[in-house]
Symmetry: C2
Subunit: 425 residues, 2 copies
Amino acid sequence: MADTSDLTPSRRAFLKGTAAGIAGAAMGAGAARAAGPDPLITDIQPFAQGLGDGVDATPYGLPIKFEDDVVRRNVEWLTADTISSINFTPIHALDGTITPQGCAFERHHSGAIEMSKGEYRLMINGLVDKPLVFTYEDLERFPRENHVYFCECAANTGMEWAGAQLNGAQFTHGMIHNMEYTGVPLRTLLQEAGLSGDLEGKWVFVEGHDASSNGRSIPMEKALDDVLVAFKANGEALRKEHGYPVRLVVPGWEGNLWVKWLRRVEVTDGPVESREETSKYTDTLADGTSRKWTWVMDAKSVITQPSPQAPITHGPGPMVISGLAWSGHGAITRVDVSKDGGKTWETARLAKPGEKMALTRFYLDTVWDGEEMLLQARAMDETGYVQPTKAQLREVRGENSIYHNNCIQTWHVKTSGEAENVEVS
Amino acid sequence: MADTSDLTPSRRAFLKGTAAGIAGAAMGAGAARAAGPDPLITDIQPFAQGLGDGVDATPYGLPIKFEDDVVRRNVEWLTADTISSINFTPIHALDGTITPQGCAFERHHSGAIEMSKGEYRLMINGLVDKPLVFTYEDLERFPRENHVYFCECAANTGMEWAGAQLNGAQFTHGMIHNMEYTGVPLRTLLQEAGLSGDLEGKWVFVEGHDASSNGRSIPMEKALDDVLVAFKANGEALRKEHGYPVRLVVPGWEGNLWVKWLRRVEVTDGPVESREETSKYTDTLADGTSRKWTWVMDAKSVITQPSPQAPITHGPGPMVISGLAWSGHGAITRVDVSKDGGKTWETARLAKPGEKMALTRFYLDTVWDGEEMLLQARAMDETGYVQPTKAQLREVRGENSIYHNNCIQTWHVKTSGEAENVEVS
């Protein structure tokens, strides 16, 4: 066994003299209130008011009451009813990269259905050697994988095509979540059913058990690459509204393809051109024609703190500007932050090296001079792609689109510390 | 902008002939029920019973009712009351590596206290140049980091010193969780308060705002290394029972050091030898003497599926044996699985390369012959350490210990698929 005694003080002879070798930059005295020992005693809280509460381990744990506003909808004005078919991750209140399922964005087209593992079936049919039906238990018997991936709605930030609209990162950019998914590669199940003949031009058509069925076509190339038939998110079972017991995970591609309550995968000799890929999820250009098959979510970023729902509440001095960046084409390699609406840029610190098709957290450790800022972030991914400005995006796409708005976002931070969604030319 | 059109079918000329290049091994026909097209239609569920439910995005989301047993306590017999000071991650029901906060193990010594961010204060005092008191908002102004770390109670698996006891991985090995923590390095705050003079032999004494205060001494070497003053777990605020609003994160070291509701960090010229490090958290050896300062959690693993709470529910054929491995000394490099009580071993597949002081998920994709198994896993870490057998551990440590039992665990899987906690000689 390892000898843990080598960490006892007697052997810790490495630290001589001053704090040489201490990494990390202190932020200067501005960030903490220095005080002599005497005032401290009155300033610090006494030990807690007697005993705290025991923890009832039987029900599933929930956030503390002080965090009641950190939910997928914390305003009444957004839609006619808080019970609706779309909701938003409170990204302005989160940090790190993982999204807890309980406050993770989701969208559904005909309600979240309740299907037990026992009832669940997945059919693979069409141009396969041997059509198959899998039970939930069957799926658990195949080799599985774990991956952290983001899932972004194609319509995320879609309101911004018409100019600065919704006032809050949760509503402009919150149709995204990032979870550790566990599942079986779709290619394994397709292989089990048997793919023979020429795969060139083949597609799969995927649909759910819900009434909308939400059928979508996916080229065979992607189906055999990294698509997962997933049954866990962040370690535990999928929540009902995330597709319990089984959903599709289509890394880097628009959320509508991530079919929930997955019912059927049909191998076809072409795309189905379903309702969900003709009446919706196409991008209408300036000349009235529509782009289709725009599945990949391009590189994008947003500053989450400060932002309209997360104003600066302190005076000038040290502060952290933070946000999220992601790309459906691979890993984020760099994020820049501007305080002057894009005239000058500083390179932010990535909390970890970017991972493919997963959210990347960035920080700019800076000093606020108390003046107004026009805060922007721009993401770059491993393909060399740079997130465009709104003007650049409109130049190519016009203003008729709903989907795939990955433009640079601007927050106007005022001297009060409050922030507002604005558009800069 | 990137041209997404390069994924349209017209350019997908790479897939010629058969499914050449498809990675991943299919598990053979045993795992899925093949059927002709006609029977399939009756076998698969019809589309859902009309519309599903809308999702109320206002409250925080909870698991579906079918997962009601996936909680930190799913039995009544464990302690006198379900409201108690210790609870257990349902690791038998989880997959991947992240533990959701709602079902993550926690332990407290005098109740979980309720302290708002506004009330919160952190004092740094003792042998520093300038004692400081930080508000919650102050902490948010320092550069912060994100890391996934496991937190394991020193007493995890402690009942097993006396032989095979509790029947379930949740109860033998569930005093552990693995979350993505966000916080400020403790060294940054110590540096802010000023560390001058010789740091050799210096320690910090850390304590919480709760009535127990749970004071513990940590050598300066560790305090300046990777300890975090954390305020988020898995992206969101710490739950009340996990130390809201601020806890200490001491990577790889026993959970008792991860002080919750962190109140004070005092720089001292030696360890305090507090109640929590003299009356408890020492390891009594066979000769009656006690080892102290055994902070690091040695390499360990457990098979979570199948296990007593997660029996095999299907017949012979393909199956996945899965579990978790971790080491306080660094990254897991390899996990072996035995089906015959340690006589022969097969190397498991790690879902991802091991990460320092974080849970690693392993899988053995195998075929069950329907016979009894004595299932074991053994972990190896980057230091070359190999997880010991119970006999090896007892040889060194005797049987008087409570803490730091990292022995190889055995599940006896019967022909019925049920599993039981047993001891093999």
